[in-house]
Amino acid sequence: MTTTTSADKLAQLRAAAYRIRRYALRMGEVQGQGYIGQALGLADMLAVAYRHALRYDPTNPQWEQRDRFLLSHGHYAIALYAALLEAGIIAQEELESYGSDDSRLPMSGMACYTPGMEISGGSLGQGLAIAVGTALGLRHKGNPAFVYNSMSDGELDEGAVWEAALSAAHHQLGNLICLVDINNQQADGPSSQVLGFEPLQDKWAAFGWHVQRVDGNDLSALVQAFDSARQHAAPQPRVILLDTLMGKGVPFLEQREKNHFIRVEEAEWQQAIAILDAAYQQGEPA
């Protein structure tokens, strides 16, 4: 069943996505680097995850009943830190420490450093296997929480992802939701040139998953996709394939020559924030 997301809800999510992008840009400015293109592209999904879908207690990141959000692509840490700031799990004053010595916010996500960072991702292709074990463990405990595994399209190259995909369907893990960020960029170029993975819906469906593919920068579509994934009745794992635009929300970054790591000059961080602020204040759609 599809429902229309209310205008109020969309406005709240739009504000959350704006703040997540802004936090990410401010952290990027601190270090003069970071996977900012990915963070801007994934901000809308993270806004819907942390302001709509996930159950969590910002005062207790280890709350037993929380939904688990696994960041398999550890290099997206800057994006998740921004979401954790938005969620109130990380304090505002920590933002300035991003990537600094002894910071709790290292450049690549690590579980032992950061509250709300469930796993040490970054060795790509591991998150979904961990998610399978987490989902099995939760079910064995009778805990109804969901496990979300956030991963990048490049990780689809890794064989272990498909081991885990087989296993999740075999074990009928209806408490597992995989989120694949499809920006079609990986280290050596467009994914279609590095190792093609389409047709992706067919592949996941053939592996026994409930599949949705949505515009990952459309808040309304994202709300519906998360709702459908959670409400799906059949005992099977769910995947949401998210087509996203790297650099989304900052046109000069959206248009910059696409590659894995978008280069941003020192003066451009403030320009990007100014553009983002102006667009938000003018009410441009997310």
Binding site: C112, I119, Q126, I130, T134, L136, K141, A160, L166, S167
Partner: protein, 336 residues
């Protein structure tokens, strides 16, 4: 083939199957000590679960699975998934005992053990069959460098048990230990040897099984069993052999090893069912190096060669590569 060849009565040793016992014909054995110990432990520890990559029967985990079917998780022939999922289970408060063959854990799933399990110091206990040269199936199944591979992982405890008693006592010790553990599992009919000595397994402890004035053998795994046989054999030649069993390879019991090496002038032999590279021998040599300690006698090494080993029957291969009782005794006599 001519007539005389086809009719000659030539004894033929068969290639040792993967599930063959390493026990000699006349040895006392215990059946599936790992499986039965884990089954018993599960009574006391509801957090213990079993997970495998399509090798429950060949790692004795089927004993646990039959007793606790709801606590057994079949992950399919997918070792990276197995280790990743075990990490996820551990994060939810369980203590997974995961099994596969040592070759697959060390060579195929290394990064998952390193990153998912060890980096977060998770309570995953990895029990792997066919360590070192315990199968005649050739390098695809012979984990001759597993210790070398795993010694590099910070915080990973490595246990190389000698016999059924060692395994039986190691299982609850592994569960009680905080952090990841790798066990070189002997499965099936496992020899029972150490009950003849005043010995109990403790993680991190090397124990002197017998004293001797001429030779000190420092050993782990099934080579401790061989070392005890060597000691008996050489006693007939009036050679007095001490055996120091060091089932925990990491963290090594440096204090006990250095004390024994320095206690009296003796030939010191480190013996292991592992390649010469990166195992117990190098660990002992490094302990001496880092402590600035000179052994009071010559220091020698009995180990498998740094090579891809042959397929064949285990007794033949143990003899060929110098880890049979007779070959070990010969080597030690030559060094005296």
């Amino acid at each position: 083939m001519n007539q005389s060849a086809s009719t000659s009565v030539k004894p033929r040793l068969k290639t040792s199957a993967m599930i063959a016992s390493i026990a000699g014909d006349d040895q006392r054995t215990e059946n599936a000590p790992f499986g039965f110990a884990l089954k018993a432990l599960a009574e006391q520890r509801p957090d213990v679960v079993g997970m495998t990559a399509d090798l429950a029967k060949y790692t004795d985990l089927h004993i646990f699975a039959q007793a606790w079917p709801e606590r057994f998780f079949q992950m399919g022939m997918a070792e990276q998934l197995l280790m990743g999922a075990a990490g996820g289970m551990a994060k939810e408060g369980f203590t997974p005992f995961v099994t596969t063959y040592a070759v697959f854990a060390s060579r195929r799933a290394y990064d998952f053990i390193h990153q998912v399990i060890a980096e977060e110091n998770l309570d995953v206990k990895i029990a792997c069959a066919l360590p070192g040269l315990t199968t005649g199936y050739g390098p695809s199944h012979q984990a001759t460098e597993d210790v070398a591979i795993f010694r590099g992982i910070p915080g990973l405890t490595i246990i190389d048990p000698c016999d059924a008693l060692d395994i039986r006592e190691a299982v609850p010790a592994m569960a009680a230990h905080r952090g990841p553990v790798y066990l070189r599992l002997l499965r099936g009919k496992v020899p029972l040897v150490l009950d003849e000595y005043d010995y109990h397994f403790e993680i991190g402890k090397a124990k002197l099984l017998r004293d001797g004035n001429d030779v000190l053998i420092i050993s782990s795994g099934l080579l401790t069993m061989r070392a005890l046989e060597v000691a008996k054999q050489l006693a007939g030649d009036s050679v007095d052999v001490a055996v120091l069993h060091s089932p925990t390879i990491k963290p090594l019991d440096v204090k006990t090893i250095l004390a024994e090496v320095q206690r009296k002038p003796r030939l010191v032999v480190v013996a292991e069912n592992h390649a010469s590279v990166g195992g117990l021998g190098e660990a002992v040599a490094y302990a001496l190096l880092s402590a600035g300690v000179q052994p009071t006698g010559p220091l020698r090494h009995i180990a498998l060669p740094d090579a891809f080993l042959d397929a064949g029957a285990l007794p033949t291969l143990h003899d060929r590569y110098g880890i049979s009782t007779d070959r070990m005794a010969q080597a030690i006599k030559a060094w005296l």
